[in-house]
């Protein structure tokens, strides 16, 4: 995974809420191998239906949306499409839980900003801005700087570009001990 530290780049506004992953990548593209590159599937049908869609003719590094971005289907292809199109950070007042988890595994940073702050930012776009993950700060195009919260573990994985399966397997002893105790405590939990 590519480490994420500081990002300076073009940000564009997607002024809508409940952007679901079916819109981010329609289902018919999910059968494609990742090696094919997912960038052309990003918002495929919306971009065709809406000529003035904010991503048409622009190649931003940062996308700023309204609430509940990435809701719906668990398809990780939504994250592949964003990442393959060069987007490294999405900023919104809230995210679909599964989408946010998928993003973290692929080096895509999700930044939660309060609804009024995210709206103020969208009003300044398209423009260049900065995202500083180690400092947990974003600098708006108008120069104002705002902090954001992120889980310590997710931050570390993003900054260091860690493989979390490797990290988990370092706990193999605890996992084995849990299984032994659990077999005794819940013998019925195994499929008959």
């Amino acid at each position: 995974m590519t480490p994420f530290t500081t990002l300076d780049g073009l940000a564009v506004a997607l002024d809508r809420s409940n952007v679901d992953t079916d819109q981010i990548i329609p289902a018919r593209f999910l059968r494609k191998p990742r090696s094919a590159g997912y960038q052309n599937f990003l918002f495929h049908d919306v971009r065709e239906a809406e000529p003035d869609f904010p991503l048409n003719g622009r190649a931003p590094a940062i996308l700023v949306a309204d609430a509940n971005f990435g809701c719906g289907s668990s398809r990780e292809g939504a994250v592949y499409a964003l990442v393959d199109a060069g987007i490294r950070c999405v900023i919104a007042p809230s995210f679909g839980d599964i989408f946010a988890g998928n993003a973290g595994k692929n080096g895509l940073l999700t930044v939660v900003l309060a609804p009024d702050l995210a709206a103020a930012l969208r009003a300044q776009l398209p423009a260049s801005m900065r995202v500083d993950l180690p400092a947990q700060q974003v600098r708006f195009p108008d120069g104002s700087v705002h902090g954001f919260a992120i889980d310590a573990f997710r931050k570390r994985c993003l900054v260091e570009g860690l493989d979390d399966i490797g990290l988990t397997l370092a706990h193999a002893g605890e996992i084995a001990a849990f299984q032994d105790a659990d077999r005794a405590a819940r013998p019925w939990a195994m499929p008959a």
Binding site: N18, D22, R31
Partner: protein, 477 residues
Amino acid sequence: MTAPQATPGSETSTAPRTLFEKVWASHAILTREDGTALLWIDRHFVHEGSFHGFGMLEHSGRPLARPDLTIAVADHYVPSHARTEPIRDPEVAGMITTLRRNAERHGVDLLDLDDPRQGIVHVIGPEQGLTLPGLTVVCGDSHTSTHGAFGALAFGIGASEVSHVLATQTLWQRRPKTMRITVDGTLSPHVAGKDVILAIIGRIGAGGAVGHVIEYAGSAIRSLPMEGRLTVCNMSIEAGARAGMIAPDETTFAWVEGRPRAPKSDAFAAAVAAWRRLPTEEGARFDRDVVLDAAEIAPTVTWGTSPETALPVTGVVPDPATATDAAKRARIADQLDYMGLAPGRPLEGIPVDRVFIGSCTNARLPDLRAAAAVLRGQRAVVPGLVVAGSVPVKRAAEAEGLDRVFRDAGLTWGEPGCSMCVGMNGDLVKPGERCAATSNRNFQGRQGPGARTHLMSPAMAAAAALRGAITDVRRVA
């Protein structure tokens, strides 16, 4: 960062606990300082769309940790017709072949296309007795929340997490908040689990439960059969919830007993004794409480492109002009534009071009019975597709003659799978067409590019088939 600590034993806690807290505590192998836990996973369902996760496992060179807790089924892309013929689409055929190869290579039980147990993953898990109270259940599909109807902690995951579970049988999870949604009172005739969950999502919104696990409680929830509870938990994700759960009770135990992979005899008795300790204790605290009156829930339909646009069928299409701010105004206007609807129009009477009865939300035997009861002896005036959730459901429906009711009404009776809910197998709603669907998502393009979807219960979809328009089932039943 400090090293994660082993989770303290649940016995030491004296405060009243919720169902969720008990299941979480009994599966937390380690807990980090920020509350993120490494959870043990009891059941991992995979399907042909899980090829990315298997690919990552293969790339890492790691073995599959617990093939005995991994169950594979073909459902998302499988054809609804001519099941015995070779699949014509080479990409789809390749995905099924890849699933077979992965299952064989790793020693995973596969419910293949010709298997008498095959069906939609969220139908077959409970049906085979693989889904049990108190378990953790994951699958690379957001509607895994369905399995929470048994009092399991069940949630959808992405491909990277699929590969993590394949390699370790564990998953790192941030501890979610809890929300209790209580529905008390008696549901009116022709009001089903689907109407309950649509009314709930209409109330709290598509992002209303983000970051939360919902527990559904109250007398109306308790009165639902398991299939109705599965419908309710299925759509938890449409309110943004991490999972939805219902405390196991006698209805649950009776439904589980005797299922092929459920515990037997003494083991079943021991399991039931453990499951009786799962329900939320008196005085346990939830981060948020929501209460609905069952008597106020009417047959419900959606008008827009988010499940939160659910309204009683007696309602009217909203007017953007009445919205409180510019963003809401634009959101309503955009949805009306896509759906081709005018503000103020009554929902009843909106013409539909076709009907879809199926999906992990509403394709179990009672769902098909409810639709057939409305259709029996009558002709649909629009085309429609009825797809049972599994081969056992299909066979049981045929034994009751339900397939004849659907066929006599002019509808098509398909082979089990996800079908027109997501259109991956080519069962698509045409651009601009309007579909009355018992599935879970009315997103733009969900049933095909340009497709317009109205979500509703099986009985309501059957009524729509008879009239060729959205119809209050209470008028025709």
